[in-house]
Symmetry: C2
Subunit: 109 residues, 2 copies
Amino acid sequence: MAHKCDLLQGTLDMLVLRVLDRGDLHGWGITQKLEQLSERALQVDEGSLYPALYRMEERGWIKAEWRLTENNRRAKYYALTRAGRKQLETEQQHWARLTAIIAQVMSSA
Amino acid sequence: MAHKCDLLQGTLDMLVLRVLDRGDLHGWGITQKLEQLSERALQVDEGSLYPALYRMEERGWIKAEWRLTENNRRAKYYALTRAGRKQLETEQQHWARLTAIIAQVMSSA
DNA sequence: GCCTTTCCCTAGAAAGTCTAGGGTTGGGCT
DNA sequence: AGCCCAACCCTAGACTTTCTAGGGAAAGGC
C-alpha cells in the first residue's frame, strides 16, 4: 500500500529545530507553528512528531520541561540545547548542499 | 549505529528518471553518470540502486532490455516508459513544491 | 454534565536506503 | 596460458524515519 509521505525523510528534525530556535514550544504548538509558517502546506502528523521529539531529546539536541500553557494546561515545552543549535546549523548546511547538487543534476543538459 | 544517509529518501527515483530521460543506460552506467553530473558529489550505492530499478520497473516507469555495451559486455539497459516520463514530471513538481515550502519555513523570521 | 479543544503518547506497518556480502565475464598483462 | 582487474549484476537483512491508527486526560464553554 502506497502512503502519502508528505515530508522528505530527514527534514522533520531540521524543521522542528528551526521552529524551536525561535522560542520554546510544546509538541502541539510545534505542529501549529509549522502549519502557520508554511501557510497550511505542512501538516505534521503527531505520530511522526512525538517520536522525533523523543529521538532529539535522546541525542541531546533539545530538552523538555513541563509547564503550564496560557490555557492553563499541562504541556511539555521543548527548548534547543547548545548541541541542538549546532545540529540545526549542520542540517541547514547539509540541506543546502544536497539541494544544490540535486538542482545541478536535474538541470544539466 | 548512525549511518551516513547521503541521499534524501525519495530523491533517488527522481535522479534516476532524470538520467534516463537523457538516454538509455545500464545500472552501472547510471551510477557513473550521476557521479559525473554531480561532479563526484553523489556516489550512489549499488545496494540502493538495484532495488530502486527493480521497483521502478515493477511500477512501469522504466523497462529493461539486455544488450551489449561498447566493451562487449552483457548489460541490462533501462529506458523510460511513457509513464516514467510522467512520473518524472510529477516528482519534479513535488520536489519544487517541497523545497519551496521548506525554504519558506526555514527563512521566515 | 457533556462536548470540544488542547494537549500527550504508543505499537506496528510501510518504505527506502545502506551494509556487506556474492557472482560472472572480458580484456590486458605477463 | 594463467591471473587479475574492471565492468557489470544481484540479494538478504539491518536500520531509520515516517505514517496509520489508535488511546487517554483535563480545562472551559454551553
